[in-house]
Amino acid sequence: MIRLRPTLKLHAKPLADTDIARITTFLRIGRERLGHDWEIATDGGHDVLGHLARPLQYEDVIDALSDLERRLSRQTGMPPPGARFRLRRWPAHALLQVDAERPRLASFLLSARPVDLDELARLGRVDPSACESFVAALMAAGVLDVTENVASRPDAAGFVGGGALGEIRRGLGLR
């Protein structure tokens, strides 16, 4: 097994431009791509996080990175990317009173149809980071069902706030 430079650093966060540039470099390694097995390792090569078979394929790299992102998300307690969420019980009051928006966000998570983080942010009209921290707290509290690798569905954010129920909202002075 040969470990080549540059070594990938992986973070359970959206990729910054510098990381994208690093991956791009990684994929432009010419014929080295064909001649070696590859490992994905932590910075400095202390921990091997994954193996990639020869010849290195772009799809394999992306799949491996996606898998790593999910695994690292679980380790760090962050919501897995692309996952959908649904409450299995109403959260503890202490968790909700942190932020006035949280009871609303939790209500969206009652739906029989699980929602993902982006959709939750659009539904609740809150910053995605607020959703992420709330969902992470719900996961830590064990009150959330998490579904991964589900097919995309129509976004509920498009019809919430419209129609007859939207009229009722406006009549009550709710947003």
Binding site: R88, F108, S111, E167, I168, G171
Partner: protein, 178 residues
């Protein structure tokens, strides 16, 4: 102009919990109330609703949402489910200062058990002391024991924003079913 079917939101709960007050907080018309003074110690110090309370939220184009309050005394339980049938949502109000508020919630859950699986519902806990977290969570636990997941929020029915917060969670459930 299209006319939507009249929506109703029902406020329910034991006597003296503030159903009439909650409706008054939202209604655009002076609420129609059927409260009477009484001498029944089981009903507490407050007047008891012996018929329906009624309020109305006016919407655009002359349409409206009707707000109903159920009679509190248990002897009127036979009316509760009838009133809540076809409701857009059900708001259960519980007075934490009553002798056995958990039993009050259990009574409501029993009374509406046929409707609850498909009902948009929220539970408001009134008169919650400052150290509120464990108090509110006891009611959540009771719901969980029955396999129910509804919003449970502390509420002061004299505060419009508190009552609205409960109704908001009910509307969200309705919207997500749409």
């Amino acid at each position: 102009m299209t006319t939507m079917p009249p929506h109703k939101i029902v406020f329910t709960g034991p006597p003296g919990v503030g159903k009439t007050t909650a409706i008054a907080m939202l209604s655009d018309i002076p609420p129609v109330v059927t409260e009477v003074a009484h001498t029944d110690p089981a009903l507490g110090r407050h007047p008891a609703t012996v018929g329906l309370d009624f309020g109305q939220v006016d919407l655009a184009d002359g349409q409206c949402v009707r707000l109903f309050g159920t009679p509190g005394p248990l002897r009127f339980e036979f009316m509760w489910q009838t009133i809540a049938t076809d409701a857009l949502g059900l708001v259960i109000l519980i007075d934490n200062d009553r002798p056995d508020p958990l039993d009050d919630l259990a009574t409501c859950l029993d009374a509406y058990r046929q409707l609850l699986p498909t009902m948009n519902c929220a539970v408001g806990i009134g008169r919650v002391p400052e150290a509120s977290a464990p108090v509110v969570d006891r009611f959540t636990d009771l719901l969980a024991e029955r396999g129910l997941v509804f919003p449970v929020l502390p509420v002061d029915v004299r505060r419009r924003e508190d009552v609205l917060a409960l109704v908001d969670t009910v509307l969200i459930q309705a919207e997500m079913r749409a």
